[in-house]
Amino acid sequence: MDDKRKVVIELQNVKRYFKVGNEIVKALRGITFKIYEGEFVTIQGTSGSGKSTLLNQLGCLDTPTEGEYYLDGTPVRKMSKSQRAKLRNRKIGFVFQSYNLLPKTTAVENVELPLMYNKKYNASQRRAAAIKALQAVGLGDRLEHKSNQMSGGQMQRVAIARALVNDPAVVLADEATGNLDTRTSFEMLVLFQKLHAEGRTIIFVTHNPEIAQYSSRNINLRDGKVREDTINTNILSAADALASLPIPQDD
């Protein structure tokens, strides 16, 4: 492997146990891997295999019971809550399955949200960054639309713009296409591939095995352990796949 690339994420034997009543649920049983800058990683596995738990670790929303996690060289496990909040704010972009936009709020305001918690940005810089991110996801003409006036695909684009606005070290997506139809899902994939081409590091949790073909690496989980970790040398183009989809007929 080409070890000259920069390591963005490093997990060393990360374990995460939950106490449920008297029982201990072992959601992650020792996970070790490195993710390099510019990789597009899909994480797959059966339901309950620990994908979301792993992503929460990567996103600094949760800390390991055991093991260590380095994000961009910073050890996360011993950090305080507000230090982790700051880390999320500066280094991570989240995309959720259910978009999670603020209701009755315009696209620009939604995208500005992470920068609200960063004192380095003033109002005009915030707006400029938000507009740039929205243009990057193809919503340059929907800046002032409110979240309830948009389609699912558009809302997810706003969510992706929000994840990009702080120029994060890594973009994390949990079932980001789970609520969308096939066509819109492929549109999202096209977008993620474009971001990948621009050099972004992306980690994409999905149920859909097909999607692995469009990423550069696929990690398969089972029972809280890495079952398979493969590099995809033959990355398919989501744009081509989208073009070959049947055009939906209007009734």
Binding site: K81, S82, N89, N100, Y117, N166
Partner: protein, 405 residues
């Protein structure tokens, strides 16, 4: 997040639930308005009582018979008969800090003129009485030294007595009326003083020479009180000391012997009055303040609902980097805004209420500090009752919060 943005978020949250926000404000509005009105009435009545008392003379000193009563001990009736002619004369002869002196005896009963009658009070007084009590003669004259010496059957009357006995007009001066069947010739009419703040008609009076009232009506040899006035309000204490000395000598009280008379100044009266009024005001304000407490609990309730409703939003904000402090500030500012807006509206309503009270004749003036206190209290309520919901929001786990449906 910056304060400005926190305010924007809070205002948006309040406006997205206008009716609910208004309902939780309503408690504060009512509470603050009640406090303001109570304070205004307290302040207003105090001012009007003061004005009334000073109308009766601020440097008045009243000597009553009998020792100062403490703990409700009953006094022998003979102890109430200690003020006599001799005391009056001694005061007249020795006074230095006292300008005017007048004995006073009172009797109430019916005054009759022709077919008309009215119940009134007859005061027996000396020549200085008008100067002490700040009465003025509007028509005719006051009775004279000579009238006192001869116990003349003359009187001056107040406006109410005139109106009751002479409903058809005509000049009452020179007419003879009867009080308890004693004929009294009217020599003068008192200038009206109106009602005092207890609602007592100050014009329902008659004044005759004290000798007349004592000999012809009451058949007694003692005074019910002696009225004096100090040279100035500031010299009241010296005047009281002087009077005490004169009376102790006159009554042959030596060493440890207790005074068999009581001296009160109008100043003392005013202070007692003020402090009584203050107590009443405090009780009213405390009662009103309890409604603010209830209002605060209302705000806490609404904020808890609001926090629960916005669990997902809290989770999202946390996931994009909001710290617990940012979240708790957001909700604190929201609850402060609700209670402070309620406070502003409450002051407004209280002000209108005060105007209404005044228009109904209830004396009411808003003390400025009560407005400032209201705002301070509202901020405290906002912080105090918003704190718990804000902490609840700040302590949420981002993962669980964002999954919340």
């Amino acid at each position: 997040m910056s304060i400005l943005n926190l305010f924007k978020v809070a205002i948006r949250a309040i406006f997205s639930n206008k009716f609910r926000s208004f309902l939780s404000m309503l408690g504060i509005i009512i509470g603050v308005a009640a406090v303001i009105i109570m304070m205004a009435i307290g302040q207003g009545s105090k001012e009007s009582v003061r004005a009334n008392l000073s109308q009766m003379g601020t440097n008045v000193i009243t000597i009553r018979p009998g020792a100062e009563t403490r703990g409700g001990v009953r006094q022998d009736p003979s102890a109430m008969q200690t003020l006599k002619q001799k005391d009056y004369e001694l005061i007249e002869r020795n006074k230095k800090y006292v300008t005017y002196v007048s004995p006073e005896v009172t009797s109430s009963g019916q005054a009759i003129y022709g077919a008309n009658n009215t119940t009134t009070s007859l005061y027996g007084a000396g020549l200085d009485y008008l100067n002490i009590r700040l009465w003025k003669i509007e028509d005719g004259t006051f009775f004279t030294e000579d009238d006192i010496r001869k116990s003349s059957k003359v009187c001056v009357v107040g406006k109410t007595v005139v109106n009751e006995l002479f409903p058809d007009g005509g000049d009452p001066v020179g007419k003879t009326i009867r009080f308890k069947s004693i004929p009294l010739r009217i020599v003068g009419i008192l200038k009206s003083k109106g009602y005092n703040s207890w609602g007592m008609d100050q014009d329902n009076v008659m004044i005759s020479p004290y000798t007349t009232v004592m000999k012809r009506i009451l058949a007694q040899t003692y005074y019910s009180s002696i009225n004096c006035s100090a040279i100035t309000e500031e010299l009241t204490d010296d005047a009281i000391a002087e009077l005490t000395n004169i009376l102790r000598e006159s009554h042959e009280l030596k060493g440890e012997a207790v005074d068999d008379f009581t001296i009160r100044s109008q100043q003392e009266m005013m202070e007692t009055m003020s402090s009584t009024m203050d107590t009443i005001t405090i009780i009213l304000v405390v009662a009103a303040a309890f409604s603010l407490l209830v209002a605060g609990i209302g705000i806490m309730n609404i904020m808890l609902v609001s926090v629960t409703e916005r669990t997902k939003e809290i989770g999202l904000r946390m996931s994009v980097g909001a710290r617990g402090l940012d979240i708790s500030n957001q909700f604190l500012i929201e609850s402060i805004l609700i209670s402070l807006t309620g406070g502003v509206l409450g002051v407004l309503v209280g002000w209108l209420g005060t105007l209404l009270c005044s228009s109904f004749g209830l004396p009411a003036t808003i003390p400025l500090w009560s407005i400032l206190v209201s705002f301070a209290v509202c901020t405290l309520i906002g912080v105090g009752f918003g704190y718990f919901p804000a902490q609840k929001a700040a302590r949420m786990d981002p993962i669980e919060a964002i999954r919340y449906e």
